[in-house]
């Protein structure tokens, strides 16, 4: 009790020290007065008595200090004092505080954003799920590291054999675009994304409905037996304004009626990274997808992602071990379909086990943002060091007056921490803005990625730790240097401080090299973008309107007819000069890759097939995109289903298949295309007759950067439901609305999935380069600017320190040019070293970048030399002013300086 009371009082005295201080002063004064009275009564004069009293009492200041120590927490009071002092110092140099905090905010904000993204993709379990830590994902892979989908029969076997999972569910890999038909009960035609799920999906995940009910095991899993649907909360809000009476109504999805049975809870966004609007039971897969009954029976048709909930008291490692065994057993039992296929089990996350380009791109971004933070830290450390140097006298006075070195270090560190706290807070704020921007961008992009990006407690801990570590790393050296001031020399104003300068130069060099690295990386990405713009892609992307549609509701018989009629009617729209349809558009992320064989020619390197890209098109595709036909003819009305299969090859393909022959020779040759069932099982082959050779199309996107061999086949002979209308307009005008009206008039249930121009689509393909260029560029320039300020600071400091020396030199007849040279040499050495180091780093960095992104030149002399010259120029101009000032030093002034 008494201890508690004392502790509380001590805290109180930390916060309100004034009253206790006054009281203590008064008490000591009273004590002295009483002592003086005593001495006076012994016959001393008042003055003698006063002095005797002081002697008898001892050190007044020390007693007061011990009084303070006892009545409050001195360390806490010190910290508060340091904080106040730090704030005062930071307020006194607002420019420094702002630039430093801003550069830190950018560095910390960028890191936080990337970590938020990575956490959301790889480490956060799905939201809106009960006890999500017990939910796992199951992936199949052939060869090491993959985490892919599996087939329905394999899923059923896993579900039956597992003992470590209380329930195992499956769902279609990506939400598929489906057409929602307009009906008389007020539902407008729209494109929706639908996911097929097993009926135990919601119960296994523990998702609650907000209206109606969700699927459960009583719903039949039999093909076609349960035409019911569950809506996502977002879709329900967006389209039905949270109308609970929607339950029981009918939706027509891809032409089939579904009864809405309920709406999932607000927090639940599905188990993948793409947003789903509706969920339908597994039994409807044959009705709603193009897979037909093969969806249920084909063991090789890998279209389902699987997951499950652990049985109580089972560890994830046990479940993973069991899954591995089940995988091996299945591979043994079904050697044709499951050869070399293993099963893996991981804690659930939106992008489980991903090791593809997503991880690579995130790694690259992580590297860049770490660099940015390093530059910011080097800069702040450099400036702090300069300030510690400028404050040598103040610190020396403090040390002389009895402050401990630890106390001084603590004070300097407090200032740094304060600065970083500002930077970190602003960084969090920046990250918050960046993540919400990113979230909306991802959702609006053609991938429709629904990744809940929240700066949560984990991220907050990360950012705080990052800020603290960065503060310590960049604050400790300056603080130790500053507090180590040799009192005697520091108090003399003209003292040289070589150690200080050395450390300062070190930070400056590091800063220059890292900023240079960033600017070079940005420059390389800029060059890639520039190349992408200047290279002749082989087609004319200007004034081409695109509209991708999904004909999933159509069959192989009705789909091609519909497409043909659509193209005819689009061509008749006012302002349209040419129109066609294609499955793949140049410059996008999507490719259709499949092998083929050529009679009489063996593929290179002993492979069984020639690997080529395929495109499925309608006639006039080449004229619409202005791709020249080098030989032969375009597809025409005669190339219909049932007529001899034909193909057009690209120039590169012709050269690859029949090397040494002119491309014209390709006409009349044959290609053999292996044919697979929708499930991927080989069933014979198709011989294609080559009727034309098209000019090479160079794509500039990330994934298919090079002009790759391409084979075109007519849509009428190789139907695919996912197509894009391409239409060239006379003056490049947009015709989205006309297209939508046309489509609605032809089929009210057919929405446009995405509408954009070909140029927009091409630009989207370059997004990674753009992102890297803008991040690295803007931050590199900030770094460059900061480096310039740093160089100016160091040079000005050097000149001030050497004023006397320079004065003497000039008095003894030194030339101005000589003095300038001397100053420049000292200031430019770290810059030159930093530049050289930065160039080496950039050369290494560009190799890494080349591996990730297409079109990045490895060593680009223009960028490398240009950036180095830019840095040297800025460094020179930064130190020219102080150097000129040095030449104006008058000998007499310099000697009088003290």
């Amino acid at each position: 009790m008494s201890r508690l009371r004392r502790c509380a009082l001590r805290f109180y005295n930390v916060l309100r020290p004034e009253r206790a201080e006054v009281d203590a002063d008064r008490e000591v004064a009273a004590h002295l007065a009483l002592l003086q009275d005593e001495f006076q009564s012994r016959g001393l004069t008042p003055e003698e008595a006063r002095q005797a009293a002081r002697r008898a009492f001892g050190g007044v200041t020390q007693v007061k200090q011990s009084h303070r120590d006892a009545r409050s927490f001195v360390w806490l009071a010190d910290a508060a004092q340091d904080l106040r002092h730090g704030l005062r110092i930071l307020r006194r140099g607002p420019l420094f505080t702002l630039t430093a905090a801003l550069s830190l905010a950018i560095g910390i904000g960028a890191n936080t954003t990337i970590v938020t993204l990575a956490t959301a993709l790889f480490f956060r379990p799905p939201t809106g799920v009960t006890d999500s830590a017990r939910v796992v994902d199951i992936g199949s892979n052939r060869g090491p590291g993959g985490f892919g989908p599996g087939s329905y029969p394999n899923y059923l076997d896993v579900r039956q054999r597992t003992t470590t999972l209380a329930s195992a569910y499956a769902y279609s890999r990506f939400p598929q675009p489906m057409s929602l038909a307009s009906t008389e009960n007020g539902i407008r035609a729209d494109r929706v994304f639908g996911t097929v799920v097993t009926t135990n999906y919601f119960t296994a995940l523990g998702v609650a409905p907000v209206a109606g009910r969700l699927f459960d095991v009583s719903d039949s899993q039999q093909p076609g037996a349960s035409p019911i649907a569950v809506l996502s909360h977002g879709f329900w809000t967006r389209r039905f304004n949270r109308d609970t009476s929607i339950v029981g109504r009918t939706l027509t999805l891809n032409g089939a009626p579904f009864t809405i049975v309920g709406v999932a809870s607000a927090g639940f966004r599905g188990t993948g990274i793409r947003a789903s609007d509706v969920w339908v039971p597994m039994g409807m897969a044959g009705t709603i997808t193009t897979r037909g009954m093969a969806a249920f029976t084909d063991r090789a048709a890998a279209w389902l992602l699987r997951g499950g909930r652990l049985t109580p008291n089972v560890l994830i490692a046990q479940a993973a071990a069991e899954m591995e065994v089940i995988g091996q057993t299945l591979a043994r039992e079904y050697p044709t379909e499951n050869r070399d296929t293993t099963l893996r089990l991981l804690a659930s996350s939106p992008a489980p086990g991903s090791n593809g380009p997503l991880v690579a791109f995130l790694t690259l971004l992580t590297l860049i943002v770490s660099l940015v933070l390093a530059v910011a830290c080097a800069n702040v450390a450099g400036v702090l060091l300069a300030r510690a140097t400028a404050r040598r006298q103040e610190i020396a006075v403090r040390l002389t007056l009895g402050a401990g070195r630890g106390r001084v270090v603590r004070q300097l560190l407090t200032e740094t921490l304060l600065l970083f706290a500002f930077g970190g807070t602003a960084g969090l704020w920046l990250a918050h803005g960046a993540t919400s921007l990113l979230s909306s961008y991802l959702l609006a992009s053609s991938f429709a990625l629904d990744v809940p990006l929240v700066v949560d407690a984990h991220v907050l801990v990360f950012t705080t730790a990052l800020t603290l570590v960065a503060a310590l790393v960049s604050g400790l050296a300056p603080a130790l240097q500053g507090s180590g001031a040799d009192v005697a020399t520091a108090l003399k104003d003209n003292a040289q401080a070589p150690a200080h300068l050395r450390l300062r130069h070190l930070f400056l060099g590091a800063q220059v090299s890292l900023s240079l690295l960033l600017v070079v990386l940005a420059g390389l990405c800029g060059r890639a973008l520039q190349r992408a713009g200047s290279v002749d892609p082989g087609f004319d992307p200007h004034g081409v309107e695109l509209a991708s549609i999904d004909l999933s509701g159509y069959t192989g018989a009705t789909g091609p007819r519909f497409a043909r009629e659509l193209v005819d009617r689009v061509r008749r729209l006012p302002g349209v000069t040419d129109a066609s349809v294609a499955a793949v558009l140049p410059g996008g992320f999507e490719t259709r890759r499949q092998g083929l064989t050529v009679p009489g020619v063996s593929p290179p390197n002993g492979q069984r097939f020639f690997g080529v890209d395929w495109n499925i098109i309608e006639p006039d595709y080449f004229s619409t995109l202005r791709i020249p036909l080098l030989a032969g003819r375009d597809f025409r009305a005669g190339d219909y289903q049932g007529a001899p299969p034909v193909a057009i090859v690209s120039e590169g393909a012709a050269a690859q298949f029949w090397p040494g022959h002119p491309v014209q020779d390709a006409i009349g040759k044959y290609l053999v295309q292996p044919v697979f069932t929708p499930a991927g099982v080989a069933k014979g082959s198709l011989t294609l007759f080559v009727v034309g050779v098209a000019h090479e199309v160079k794509s500039t996107s990330v994934l298919d950067g090079l002009a790759r061999a391409c084979v075109y086949v007519p849509l009428q002979q190789a139907y695919t439901p996912s197509i894009s209308v391409v239409a060239r307009t006379s003056r490049g005008q947009r015709i989205t609305n006309e297209l939508q009206t046309l489509l609605t008039s032809m089929n009210a249930n057919l929405p446009i999935v995405t509408a954009q121009t070909l140029e927009e689509s091409l630009a989207f393909g370059l997004t990674p380069q753009r992102v890297v260029a803008s991040i690295a560029g803007s931050l590199g320039l900030v770094g460059l600017l900061l480096a310039g300020l740093g160089i100016y600071g160091v040079t000005a400091y050097v000149v001030t320190r050497r004023t006397r020396e320079i004065g003497i030199r000039m008095a003894l007849g030194a030339q101005r040019a000589h003095v300038v040279r001397m100053i420049l040499r000292q200031a430019m050495t770290p810059v030159a070293v930093g530049c050289a180091l930065g160039l080496v780093l950039a050369a290494a960095g560009s190799r890494v970048l080349t591996a990730y992104l297409f079109g990045i030149p490895a060593i680009d002399p223009v960028v490398f030399c240009g950036v180095a010259a830019l840095f040297l120029l800025i460094a020179l101009s930064a130190c020219s002013t102080p150097a000129r000032r040095a030449t104006r030093i008058q000998a007499m002034d310099a000697l009088r300086y003290e």
Binding site: S2, R3, R5, R6, L9, R10, D23, A24, R26, E27, V28, A30, H31, A33, L34, L35, D37, F57, G58, G59, Q62, V63, S66, H67, D69, A70, R71
Partner: protein, 111 residues
């Protein structure tokens, strides 16, 4: 070194409480004088030790300070023992007796 300080600290608290309990409220100077007078051999109480002890005891609620006039009309802060202080004094005295008894016994056994 550390133990000595701690022992001294505890002892000083006991001595102050005891003095205040027998003599009534005293100011710091009078306490110093009184302690020097009571001590058999020359014993100077460092003010740097006395004041923290007073702060400590006051914060614990065992003594209470109040500003009063001395008989010569000077201002001085008089410390008086409180009821919790009296209780604490009894406990501390008890503890000290036991401790010193133990030490005495040990010293006797050793010799």
């Amino acid at each position: 070194m550390k133990e000595r300080v701690e022992l001294l600290q505890g002892t000083l608290d006991l001595i102050i409480l005891r003095a205040l309990a027998t003599m009534g409220p005293q100011h710091a100077y009078a306490l110093t004088a009184r302690l020097e007078q009571v001590a058999d051999h020359p014993f100077t109480l460092n003010q740097g030790t006395l004041y923290p002890a007073l702060v400590r005891l006051e914060q614990k609620g065992w003594i209470k300070g109040a500003w009063q006039k001395t008989e010569h009309g000077r201002d001085a802060k008089y410390y008086g023992i409180t009821r919790p202080g009296t209780r604490a004094l009894e406990q501390q005295t008890d503890r000290w007796r036991r401790l010193s008894g133990l030490v005495e016994k040990l010293l006797l056994d050793e010799s």
